[in-house]
């Protein structure tokens, strides 16, 4: 495998006493579509801003295509296509003027491509940007982010604020224009169904920490829900990788990461159980808000007998 297109190593950032990123490390191979998942305030935008050298990190190392944005932000930015969350562009300009203005800053700017895509996306080239609809404005942002054919594309929650149809179209463009041209794409999103279909791999960011990375398929293979009766495992220590425990009277439903190992143990012990597949939505939920306090500590009857 080639060198990672985006490498993040031990990244730390805090605002005052609030730690926004704690030892975040990531490697994204070239050509991969990588989704960054996390709740609001998990640190996605901060991380993306550090990747572009917009804000300095407290410590840690970041490289995009082998270049450190903290040292040479301009080179990084000229090789990266970026679409910010809720981005505004000069409202008084027209799309064509915006392209003309940006062209001198990128040696690889492709004006014909830009015009072609403005046309394809149905953006009026001579209308004021301030008058474009939300969806058109996101698409214009995408055209502007891609017209210099960047090898790396970073999209910060691009689908936010788009209606379902526009979102689907947007994802379609993502698949059609970026994945097929071999771009490395890093994007953040809240819409897990769409992420599952579009992304190769995901990272789950929670409170400034990366709690899990993996390809979507791997994640679904490894994270499973197991159903069994409480008594059968009472007294055993909570297994490694336990994410969420839920008790329904004497039945126990728990979600466990790297489940294969534990399932093997259950089989070896001859304990009755069911393994349930989970959707990405449920997996994300387990990682982010899963609780493990309900794991049965001691068998219920032995507690009653002890006095």
């Amino acid at each position: 495998m080639s060198a990672p297109a985006i490498r993040v190593d031990q990244l730390k950032k805090s605002y005052g006493s609030q730690q926004v990123l704690q030892n975040v490390s990531l490697n994204i191979p070239a050509g991969q579509t990588f989704a960054l998942l996390g709740r609001n305030g998990a640190g996605k935008t901060t991380m993306i801003r550090i990747l572009l050298g917009l804000i300095p990190a407290d410590s840690g190392n970041v490289q995009l295509g082998g270049i450190d944005p903290a040292i040479d932000p301009l080179t990084v930015r000229s090789h990266v296509g970026y679409l910010a969350e809720d981005q505004a562009m000069y409202g008084w300009m027209t799309p064509i003027e915006l392209c003309r203005f940006l062209a001198p800053f990128y040696p690889t700017w492709d004006m014909n491509w830009a015009r072609d895509y403005l046309d394809r996306f149905g953006i009026p080239p001579h209308g004021r940007i301030g008058r474009l609809s939300k969806g058109q404005s996101v698409k214009l942002g995408l055209v502007v982010a891609l017209s210099h054919h960047p090898p790396i594309v970073i999209l910060d929650d691009p689908a936010m604020g788009l209606d379902p149809i526009a979102r689907k179209e947007f994802n379609r463009d993502l698949v059609e224009h970026l994945q097929t041209s071999g771009c490395t794409v890093l994007y953040s999103s809240h819409l897990l169904d769409e992420v599952e279909a579009v992304a190769d791999a995901v990272a789950i960011l929670d409170h400034g920490r990366i709690v899990r990375t993996g390809t979507t398929d791997l994640l679904r293979d490894e994270v499973k829900q197991i159903l069994l009766s409480c008594d059968s495992i009472a007294g055993t220590p909570p297994p490694e990788g336990l994410l969420d425990v839920c008790r329904h009277e004497d039945r126990l439903a728990f979600i466990i990461d790297r489940s294969e190992n534990y399932v093997g143990q259950l089989i070896a012990k001859g304990i009755d159980h069911d393994v349930v597949d989970l959707s990405l939505d449920e997996i994300f939920e387990a990682f982010v808000i899963g609780r493990t306090q309900d794991w049965p500590g001691k068998p219920a009857n032995s507690a009653a007998m002890s006095p």
Binding site: L52, M89, L102, Y106, H126
Partner: protein, 541 residues
Amino acid sequence: MKSLLWKQWQENRGYLAIFLAWMVLAAIYSIGYEVGYGFHAPVGHFSGLSLFYTICAAVFLAMRAAQGEQSAGTLSFSASLPVSMRRIAAVRIGGAVATLAIPVLVAAAVLSLALASGFVEQAGPRGVEFLPRLPQRETASLLTALEQLASVTAIAIFGGIELLLVLSVFGCWLRSQAQVGLLGAVMGLGSMIASGLFWYGERRPYVQLVYGAVLPQSLAIQWSYGEEHGGYTDHELAQYRWIALGLSIPVLLIIGYLFVIRYGRLKDIALPAKPGRFRFSTPSLWSHIPIRLRGRWTALIWLELRQSGPLVTCGLLFALLIAIVSVLTEPRGNYSTGASVLAAMPHTISFVGMLWATVVGSGLYSAELDPRLGAFWRSRPISSDMWFWCKFIVGLAAVLIVLDGVTILASWNAPRDSPTTGMSWAYVGCFPVIHALLYALAVLGTCWLRKPVIGAFMAILGFAVLNIAITTFPLTDHLDPFTVYNNLLRDERAGHVDLTQHGYPLVYGVLAVSTFILGLVSSRFARPLERTFRRFTLLPE
């Protein structure tokens, strides 16, 4: 109702504290100045200061009253509360009026204590005849002095409230606080000019009464005089001022009611934000001209010119309008209207330019420091310093070339009769530098506080404070930039032009260097998405 008042108090108390400090300091300053120079004119001085205060405070409070909820995005929340929007509007505007008026009243009380204790004295009222001048007039009795003070205070408050209400009503139609601020600055300047235009004084007291009822500001007028050391402000009051003020109360109530109705309807249009509702569409001519921008600098300069050009041109047109109005309403001299307008331009541009330099300075930077647009340009391969200095220099050049340059060229051959007409070498030497300084101050304020109107306002306030600081002490009084300019102009009209006199090289050298230093400091703050000042920037995510 009680909770609405509580909310209003929470929102306004910060401003109330600042305004109180401002006006109390103003009262102390006028007392101190009186004690230092002894002109017997504390009331006139106070009247001038409170006029400036009421205009600034009215603009500020109107911005908040009319647009505060839109820009904070809480309007649809307020509209959903089980309280009528009219009641909310009434509380908002009532709070604003109180915030405006209380500081003036407190400051007037401070000054009246000083008068009552005999600490300072006030000369007698200005009579029908303009002579004798104030320093020759007898000291007025305490009762007369207090009545003068009360009139001046009441007129300032009523005038300020009127400006606040009118601005708030118009503000409901506008789309942002910055627009209200700009409109306010223009209207404030306009109202100062209007109250001068509508001044008939003792000549036509009944006409003055009618004007006064509609425009309370026009019931008093201040005349400033420069002396060998320092200067004083004499004031003149309309004869039937109290009756006019009484009549203006219903006028103010009607405007206030208009605001309440207008604001009460806001919720209907607030939710579906129709783009371009009140905008007429200008054809995008530039877009159709296939310009190829070669090189980064060309592109950036093109961008900045596109932004600053229209702004600066508006300023020039505004100044031209003021010059035309003032020429048309004043007794015509021996010259044609065109020549008179050109002769009036330098004086008009000198003060409109100060206002407009701050408008351009803050307007150019505010948009791009906004996090949403900031995220866009910051992520382009444009270095921050390149962007900042290109913007700074192009904006400054636009201000100086379009406002000062055009005026200098156009008015150079216009008649030069009085100190306020015609072009001069003193103007060429002084005002571009002052405009540049105000521009740089506005840039600093905007980059630091990230709020365009407050930034521009800080610039004007900073400049005013600097002026006050220089003129307070007899030792430094002659180094005041305006004093230097007046001295140079006097010499020039007497026949000799020498820009090395009267401390010009020192004073204006310092101003020019400060402009550059201010730019340098601002460039450190001009990094959107990074924090400058804790309270004013957004938290991450």
